[in-house]
């Protein structure tokens, strides 16, 4: 179903027409039902953008001037505050929990979004459990159930080259595996740096 995604920025990201040529897209709409539709569009766009560029985390202050939030041709931009609202919507249930705020140390932060604490977030174009499914499916397909595989092998090994999870963020990979452990589909052992896993 999913072909290997292109490596970072090998092809330019193609923005949808409403981002390329529709100025109101960059102003959060005053009408609630329109706004919800707009949030949904932004959410999908951000996920697709991050997926294209293989971004797992996004920092608002460093992305706000990127083409994602700023259209130089139209001379329109999503303001920092509005971008934060979009992400905040994405972090909620109605947004499918597609992002998760973290602080500088990578710890998850909750509560109302504030300028000083809510800058960086995970962008889950695949949620950890979805990643888990992808990895489990690969193990199943390649007949490696019950085989001990190291983390390094799975993420960076030759065998997974071309797979979507090849070269993915270590921490996210760990989280993906832990969702599998929780569901009783895998077991993780070994210490930091030399962890291995076994799938059932």
């Amino acid at each position: 179903m999913s072909q290997p995604s292109p490596s970072p920025s090998s092809t330019p990201f193609k923005f949808p027409t409403y981002h390329a040529s529709y100025p109101p897209f960059f102003t959060l709409q005053p009408n609630t039902s329109t706004l919800t539709a707009q949030y949904r569009k932004w959410s999908r766009l951000i996920q697709r953008y991050c997926r294209h560029h293989r971004l797992y985390k996004l920092s608002l202050t460093s992305t706000i001037d990127s083409p994602l939030f700023k259209n130089t041709e139209l001379k329109k931009r999503l303001s920092l505050q509005d971008a934060r609202s979009v992400l905040e919507w994405m972090s909620r249930d109605e947004g499918g929990r597609r992002i998760e705020w973290v602080d500088q140390k990578g710890r998850v932060v909750d509560g109302r979004p504030r300028e000083d604490t809510h800058d960086t977030c995970w962008v889950f174009w695949k949620r950890p459990e979805e990643w888990g499914d992808v990895i489990a499916a690969w193990v199943e397909e390649t007949g490696q159930k019950g085989v001990v595989l190291t983390f390094y092998e799975l993420v960076n090994g030759e065998g997974t080259r071309g797979e979507e999870f090849h070269g993915m963020d270590q921490e996210l990979f760990r989280r993906a595996l832990s969702t599998l452990v929780k569901r009783g589909k895998a077991q993780v052992f070994g210490g930091e740096g030399a962890e291995g896993t076994k799938f059932f």
């Binding site: 193609k14 949808p16 027409t17 409403y18 040529s21 529709y22 100025p23 109101p24 897209f25 960059f26 102003t27 709409q29 005053p30 009408n31 039902s33 329109t34 919800t36 539709a37 707009q38 949904r40 569009k41 999908r44 766009l45 697709r48 001379k75 329109k76 931009r77």
Partner: protein
Amino acid sequence: MSARRGVGLSAFQNRSSLSTSYASHGASLRSAHLTSLQTQLSVFQSLLHNFALQHADTIKSNPTFRAEFARMCNAIGVDPLAGSNVKGKSAGGGKGIGSLWAKVLGGDVNDFYFELAVRVVEVCRGSRGENGGLLGVEECKELVKRGRGIGGGMDVSDDDVLRAVKSLKPLGSGFSIVNVGSKQMIRSIPKELNTDQSTVLEAIQVLGYITCSMLEDNLGWDHARADTVIKDLLGDSLVWVDLQAPEAEYWSPAFMNDFED
């Protein structure tokens, strides 16, 4: 000679017999015509019947072909959509034909339009948040074409979409076709636009966007009037606002329909 001159008394008798024979001949000609026309029509019907059955696949898959077929049916007073639930439009002479056609085409062509109608409803509902329930026929067609539903997109023409929306009528669903300017739009929320609102939407179609002062300058409206109309349209999700322009600009949501994601 004398008979031809017709001046004698017998001429009266001749004349009356002549007119009766003319009349009877005329009647027989008329009936001959009628029977031959009836035969022609029935032959044509059966041919059309065969044609419809034979080309059912093409009718379903090729929008141009379908439009031509529909036009042909219309021309002889046959409505391909007049199914068992909708009484044939062609009253009188076409009554028998209407039901016949429902039987002939029911399985294929009717289903096609009902299926399309379901897609149209899906598309309208799906985009309601963005466009306030007013979707251009053109855009709807594109969305149906690129649809991601079961069975993928359907290749349809404007005409098909219009028919599909019409076929929803018996359901009392509130789906209707409205004309805004030169554009036909599908209204999926039963609400009337007032004249001012229509005017503004029309202007947006032509100019791309509108501002309060544009309305004031071009239509001679006072500020309150322009402001109210725009607020109403915003409230109904029928326009989107761009606040990063020198003066707030109001845009049509038609651009939002993009299934690239």
